[in-house]
């Protein structure tokens, strides 16, 4: 963007505010595009000259998306709607549909996913799922479907229907095997489109993320469950250490999987541990009892799809496939085809027992395994960077993982937490610190006499919350001894 010369900036600064500060009522109405043309212009005029009021406006509107007005007392209504239509729209005040746009964007992605899934089955029409998928044409429908699916997780009726569908699709699995490559994106092409969607979603849409995940899962579940266990052994062996690491990380952080069945729950706790300890998944699986096996298989079904995966793309998909499946598939599997799965499970040389609680948690686990930037050497790491440069946080212990909004314009590259102080660094020398585990973020600009930090922050290390250093660009090292207030370039 062409800049304006500095002298112009100065002249701009020196203009004096002629009008009175608007009161809170007016300023708020201004920010919600509720003023009339003339009033709106007046406020604009004042704002263009008064930095204080700009500050107020910025503070008042920051992170507004997360605080989408909730009609707690059924306040929303025709009042607002009438307002929107009755008023001429001021120049800049086009309604912001960020939320809606993203829903449509990812709904479109879901459509691609779903239709690709359908196409992949080459004519064999999985009755239940396809119907479900094709019925859900609009975002609202999709969510309803997703909800319904999730709700139906435990019902026998749907379970048997699912089983039927799944079994129907067995023959198709063979063709899927051809897809598998070493370390490659075994998983269906449909999911290649998914990763960009997940993290790009705006801050307030973490619920939305889950919904769109469950939609993809609705279509993807069955495919992954049966994904060729006889996948490339070589691929699996290559990935074994990574998988173990992933499981360990996940376990350390998340503890038990929250399941609908108690036994499944207990078993899940122990089985992964066995897996980790022995490194022999087969053993782990065999020693577990049926419930465990099915629970595991539910995860493993998705997991085996995970196995050859190194790239975040497929892993995201599979992980997300694993997620709702955790509830749905497990119920399904437990009730319908435990024996079969046991066999399959045992026949594979390796399972990934990642049974994540949520799509995001699993996606994150995948990110980490796939080389996403894990917090260095910290067990039970809670902070990570998604492939597209957003910061993600898993509080663990029953809380869902969420993307933490800091600055939408920044692509983050690394994040480190020390105590309650979290540091996130990204491209262009962007560095943020949160003293309170991510509730608030402060932009930190290291600079010395030669200038500011402007190269990409690649690594952050803090010994305690005062002493630390960052590595940026081509071996630029900046260090601080006072918690980031002042920096020295090495």
């Amino acid at each position: 963007m062409p800049d304006i010369p500095k002298f112009a900036v100065d002249r701009l600064r020196d203009r004096k505010a002629a009008s009175a500060h608007p009161e809170a009522d007016v300023l708020n109405a201004f920010s919600e595009n509720a003023l009339r043309e003339s009033e709106h212009a007046q406020v604009f005029a004042h704002l263009s000259e008064c930095a204080e009021c700009r500050d107020v406006l910025a503070l008042a509107t920051q992170g507004k998306e997360e605080q989408v007005l909730e009609p707690d007392l059924a306040f929303v209504g025709r009042d607002v709607m009438v307002a929107a239509s009755a008023r001429p729209v001021p120049m800049l005040a086009q309604p912001r549909f960020r939320w809606a746009t993203l829903r449509w964007g990812a709904a479109a992605a879901c459509a691609v996913v779903v239709s690709a899934a359908v196409l992949m089955y080459r004519g064999s029409e999985p009755a239940g799922l396809k119907r479900v998928a094709s019925d859900a044409q609009t975002p609202q429908d999709r969510e309803m479907v997703a909800d319904r699916l999730r709700a139906q997780g435990g019902s026998k009726e749907s379970a048997s229907r699912e089983a039927l569908d799944l079994r129907e699709r067995q023959p198709q699995v063979e063709s899927l095997k051809e897809n598998s490559r070493i370390g490659g994106s075994f998983v269906m092409p449909q999911v290649a489109t998914r990763p960009p969607d997940l993290p790009v979603a705006s801050p307030g849409s973490k619920q939305y993320l889950k919904k769109s995940d469950s939609m993809a899962q609705a279509s993807g579940t069955a495919t992954h469950r049966d994904s060729a266990y006889a996948d490339n052994d070589k691929a699996k062996r290559l990935d074994e250490p990574r998988l173990r690491e992933r499981v360990a990380a996940y376990e350390a952080q998340n503890g038990a999987l929250k399941n609908e069945t108690a036994t499944g729950q207990t078993e899940n706790r122990t089985v992964p541990a066995t897996v980790t300890a022995d490194g022999k998944d087969q053993t782990g699986v065999r020693t577990a009892d049926k419930a465990a096996a099915t629970a595991v298989a539910g995860g493993a079904g998705a997991g085996a799809g995970n196995a050859p995966v190194a790239a975040p793309g497929p892993s995201d998909a599979v992980a997300s496939a694993a997620a709702p499946a955790e509830q749905k598939a497990q119920a399904v599997l437990q009730k319908t085809a435990p024996a079969k799965l046991n066999d399959e499970v045992q026949s594979s040389s390796e399972q990934v027992v990642v049974a994540p609680k949520s799509a995001l948690a699993s996606a994150r686990a995948e990110n980490q395994a796939a080389g996403g930037l894990l917090v260095r050497g910290r067990q039970g790491a809670e902070w990570s960077v998604t492939p597209v440069g957003k910061i993600e946080h898993s509080p663990g212990a029953g809380e869902p993982t969420e993307i933490v909004p800091i600055d939408p314009n920044v692509e983050f590259l690394t994040v480190t937490a020390v105590g309650t102080s979290v540091w996130a660094g990204g491209k262009g020398g962007v560095l943020y610190n949160s003293p309170d585990s991510g509730a608030r973020w402060i932009r930190v600009v290291p600079q010395d006499e030669k200038g500011r930090l402007s190269s990409d922050v690649r690594q952050i290390e803090f010994d305690d919350n005062q002493h630390g250093q960052i590595v940026a660009g081509k071996n630029e090292v900046w260090s601080t001894a006072d918690g980031g207030k002042s920096w020295k370039r090495k």
Binding site: N28, A29, V56, M91, I442, V444
Partner: protein
């Protein structure tokens, strides 16, 4: 009662059973013990504040329809100390108040302070002439109650902490309205590297003119982007539009502004080449000089300026 009759006049043209009542029915005013008359009084006060006298009935009706009536009713019922209203208000907003304060103050104790003091003001702990004064009375329903609370919090915060020069950001960009901080730096630089030539005064004039001709929205964006150094996303949030809108506008805007400045410069007699050169000149030099010149009434050329300032300094020190 006379008052009521007077204010009811604001609704002339609106029959009793008309929109006033319709609006009333849609709100929960009755739940909070507000009669239709009370309600109409409230509406009247709002319309009286924002609508020109003698406004057409239809416009009044539309205006009222654009208000967040339910929230307005809640707020006014709270002012009237209605129990239920307070209950509802607290359920809906007590926690949010704290969260919003935290978002603004970014630090636990300051946020709690802020939230508590705003809460006190809302509750009306102060009394004037024996009547409890609540800040909620100033909410008129033109925007959402939640947004209003946020704005009130933000205003209070800015008043408290900005005045004490407490910068929450370690970013170098300081608030533009206080030149203190920025003045010192350019002065240092001035002594280090003096520009070879004095800047053309026509540049300043041309720029002023160009800026004056901009619509205020565009000046606002410029100020927010260049002075406050806000991101496009932040600006978009402030204006409730999409980020790309701001991006586009800003780009068009800067191009236009540059052209305008050059145009004005040539009008003032500078040659095309001079003008374009000025646009690309080393900005620091220009900036320094600009600021120093602006602070001083006599507009002598820079080199002399420097000598003068050092003399002035020397003299000042001698005096002390």
């Amino acid at each position: 009662m006379a008052e009521a009759a007077q204010t009811a006049g604001a609704f002339e043209g609106l029959p009793e059973t008309g929109p006033g009542a319709a609006f009333y029915a849609r709100t929960r005013a009755s739940r909070y013990g507000l009669s239709l008359a009370d309600f109409e009084q409230i509406l009247a006060s709002v319309t009286g504040k924002y609508l020109p006298a003698g406004c057409a009935a239809e416009e009044t009706r539309q205006f009222c329809a654009s208000l967040h009536l339910d929230e307005l009713v809640l707020a006014r019922a709270c002012v009237a100390a209605n129990e239920k209203a307070w209950e509802d208000f607290l359920t809906a907003y007590r926690e949010k108040l704290y969260d919003m304060a935290l978002r603004i103050a970014r630090e636990q104790s300051a946020a709690r302070d802020l939230a508590d003091s705003i809460y006190a003001e809302l509750y009306g702990l102060s009394e004037r002439d024996g009547v409890r004064v609540s800040k909620l009375a100033s909410y008129t329903g033109r925007g959402s109650l939640e947004g209003w609370l946020r704005t009130v919090l933000a205003q209070e915060y800015v008043n408290r902490y900005r005045k004490n020069k407490r910068f929450v950001s370690l970013d170098e960009a300081t608030e533009g309205d206080d030149g203190e901080e920025r003045r010192s730096v350019p002065e240092l630089r001035a002594r280090e590297d003096a520009p070879a030539t004095a800047p053309d005064p026509r540049i300043a004039t041309a720029t002023d003119e160009a800026l004056a001709r901009l619509p205020s929205e565009e000046r606002f964006i410029l100020a927010a982007y260049y002075l406050d150094r806000r991101t496009l996303a932040q600006i978009a949030e402030m204006l409730n539009v999409h980020e790309s809108t701001i991006s586009r506008k800003l780009e068009k805007l800067t191009k236009t502004l540059r052209k305008q400045i050059v145009g004005h410069m040539t009008q003032l007699g500078m040659s095309r080449r001079q003008a374009e050169e000025a646009m690309g000149v080393d900005v620091r030099d220009l900036e320094i000089d600009m600021r120093i010149r602006l602070q001083d009434s006599d507009g002598s050329a820079f080199p002399k300026r420097k000598a003068n300032s050092t003399n002035a300094e020397g003299r000042k020190q001698n005096d002390e």
